[in-house]
Symmetry: C2
Subunit: 446 residues, 2 copies
């Protein structure tokens, strides 16, 4: 079907990104490692579609403010693109309740979409890797998630990261401790969250205007915020004393103490996690421990691996309850951050051997060599480009950083041999077809 | 944020599907195998977003009829969900022209969305796995794709499949051969495509009413359609003679002969492919060889792996041209087909070892065992459920088909040992912590 029209500009919408092979090969390796660790911890994969019914995502909540991508299709249901993998998990737990044994340890790796203003490391479509334990109320589960987070980041080659652990129950206890209306808690937490950027005086002022806190109340809050202790057990003991008037806070502290015990038994390295009473996590649905993770050398990137306990997971769909805890790593932000920090090197190719193709009459022989190498599990490319001469084809292989080329002209095919060129060591050897695989493996293993 | 409202029904939109772990574990294995073979053939991964600008997808073509999911977001660009991975590839080739060396062998695995009427094996969101060679005009490239298709399907454990190969140039030659207006070709092909279902008399009648073919023209067309030969070389020779008046058809036949030569050199098994002059492939953009694949025992499923040469890939975006050839496997249709044929067994878990947790005072010892097993690379789950007794926890492990459980009560921890229960062989042995890994590996390797 031919039609004449202006050419369309080849470009992406804002906040969207491509991964060309030089980046995608490395990103794929990251994804594989994350999956491996998820499975090492006994999480099984789940897949749900990107498109969900709109009300599944919004919960018909008049206060729903997330910018989601709604789709239209004539005479059809209202669908929209998921903005996280947690809401679909909740739907799955209710929809397939009878089929799913609890506790259910599942991981899901998939794209999510949010119509946010794009900025560094923030995309409108990005990949989340989530692991959650549904149907377990014990703090051992929360510790498992933290242990998993630590293992995933280590597997990705990161060592300078810090998982900050807090408990929403301690924050929920602030209204009792300070003495303000519990309904104002969300506002108070949102204001406190600006502390790093705005500083205490501005935060205090906003707390007065927005919530009407009195000077003595501000003083109490400041005491909590600025609370410091020489070590974690002293910190927990100190906060326990400070917030002794709040039952819910005390419960949160006890939970953190349990988590610490489990983390030690699980041999999670001490230097990769800490208790941090300032961590709130924006999402309203957390009900217990919360986690976020910064790269020590790039804290501005924000949290790269976050989660917590959300025991009201099912409430949108069911009167049943199931406790749940989990965490999510935003792969694309982490990738952008690691790339900026120089922690990722581009990998130009997956190809291990390129068989060149400079002798038209000898193509079939070359193809036999190609087929044999692939049969042996060696990633092999047959040169299919425009260059007809040896030099041009070698340039292609060098440019693509392919480690080995195999040459087979008519002088080789007559004798049943090939030339192996090790492009890294600049060495060339002749090989019979029988020896070819082992000679190439030797070079690849160098 | 609490709000009172009716519970929302946990369900999916029509034509969408979930994969619970029992299916997803197997689907993931399929995906990994496909990726492995793609890389074995020297294809590198590419990733592009699901959302593209609407005009990228439609080409602003007034005849564009595909039902795509358009998204709306206030004051924003018109975006829509991709319906294949080929249009994004074309965009990428133009957008990053300078960064991409040719020939460019890329694979992409990702979801696509089409607002089609759902039916068996046809979903509105499904995963495509594409491999394409861009920038190569040689028939060696087409043969590589066919070889790849064969290798992928074999890796998936299929042996009874048939890759049907044709050349659009032969079909394009029909207008010369039969003698009708070339502009009518698309209609003629579309009518012929109904042959299997409607039979010749109905097709002939439609050809008369829709294109106005005369009896002698119908006769010529019928001769082509019903052409049979005892073997492939006789078939090609016969068609060469039949269509001798069409230069374009002769060119197509020569190309098929070249492909056959390459397939033989590449050692693609003879019984997995065939030349079939009836294969048209619906998409208008194919310009040369076309491929489709049926499962011999389930032909009604339709083509599960299709492709061909499309040398006008870039035309929407650029006046430059780049020849291209590739193929795409629809994973979800294939999965549905294989499942229906009983070729897929459900895999209930990824977990290799469950460490039970029936002695509250001994949790830390159990967690040490868990950490040690994971350290050794054994996929290990720590029991985190509600059952507090041994029996209930064993039932969980049996139901999830976990092969091994490890028991460690206080009598074990005091002596630094654990009990290993092989749930398949119904055997129990004691092990020290030092021997645990090797004993478990022995059981797993049985």
């Amino acid at each position: 079907m031919m039609y004449d029209m202006e050419k369309i500009k080849a470009e992406l919408g804002s906040g969207l990104r491509d991964y060309l092979p030089a980046d995608m090969i490395g990103r794929q390796i990251m994804l594989d490692k994350i999956r491996q660790v998820f499975e090492l911890f006994g999480f099984a994969p789940l897949s749900t579609p990107g498109l969900e019914k709109e009300e599944i995502l919004t919960g018909n909540d008049p206060n729903f403010k997330m910018q989601i991508f709604k789709t239209r299709l004539q005479q059809d249901e209202d669908l929209a693109l998921r903005f996280d993998l947690t809401v679909p998990l909740a739907r799955v737990m209710v929809q397939y309740d009878n089929e799913i044994d609890k506790p259910f340890k599942r991981y899901q790796i998939g794209s999510v979409w949010r119509g946010e203003r794009p900025q560094f490391g923030r995309f409108r479509e990005f990949m989340q890797c989530d692991a959650d334990i549904v149907g377990s109320a014990t703090m051992a589960a929360d510790a498992e998630i933290i242990s998993l987070m630590s293992a995933v980041l280590s597997a990705l080659g990161l060592n300078r990261f810090l998982i900050k652990v807090n408990n929403r129950k301690i924050l929920n206890g602030l209204s009792q401790y300070v003495g303000f209306d519990p309904d104002k808690l969300v506002i108070v937490l949102r204001v406190i969250d600006k502390l790093d950027k705005a500083g205490w005086p501005a935060v205090a002022e906003e707390l007065v205007t927005a919530v009407g806190l009195q000077p003595d109340q501000l003083e109490k809050l400041k005491k909590f915020i600025e609370f410091k202790a020489p070590n974690q057990s002293a910190a927990l003991a100190g906060i326990r004393e400070l917030m002794a008037n709040s039952e819910i806070a005390l419960q949160g502290i006890t939970e953190l103490e349990q988590i610490i015990k489990h983390l030690k038994a699980l041999k999670v390295p001490d230097d990769c996690w800490t208790i941090d009473f300032s961590v709130a996590r924006g999402l309203a649905y957390y009900t217990g421990p919360v986690f976020e993770t910064i790269l020590v050398d790039f804290p501005e990137l924000g949290s790269i691996f976050s989660g917590g306990r959300y025991d009201d997971l099912l409430s949108r769909f069911s009167n049943n309850t199931l406790p749940a805890v989990g965490a999510s790593v935003g792969l694309d932000r982490l990738f952008a951050g690691m790339k900026k920090m120089g922690l990722l090197t581009e990998i130009a190719t997956v190809t291990q051997v390129a068989v060149l193709n400079f002798d038209q009459n000898n193509e079939s022989y070359c193809e036999q060599v190609v087929a044999g190498l692939r049969q042996a599990g060696i990633k092999t490319e047959f040169y299919l480009g425009k260059e007809t001469g040896l030099k041009g084809q070698l340039t292609y292989a060098l440019k693509k950083d392919i480690p080995i080329v195999v040459l087979a002209g008519s002088t080789e095919s007559e004798r049943g041999v090939v030339q192996i060129k090790d492009l890294r060591q600049h060495e060339q050897t002749e090989s019979t077809l029988a020896e070819l695989e082992s000679k190439i493996r030797t070079i690849l293993d160098r």
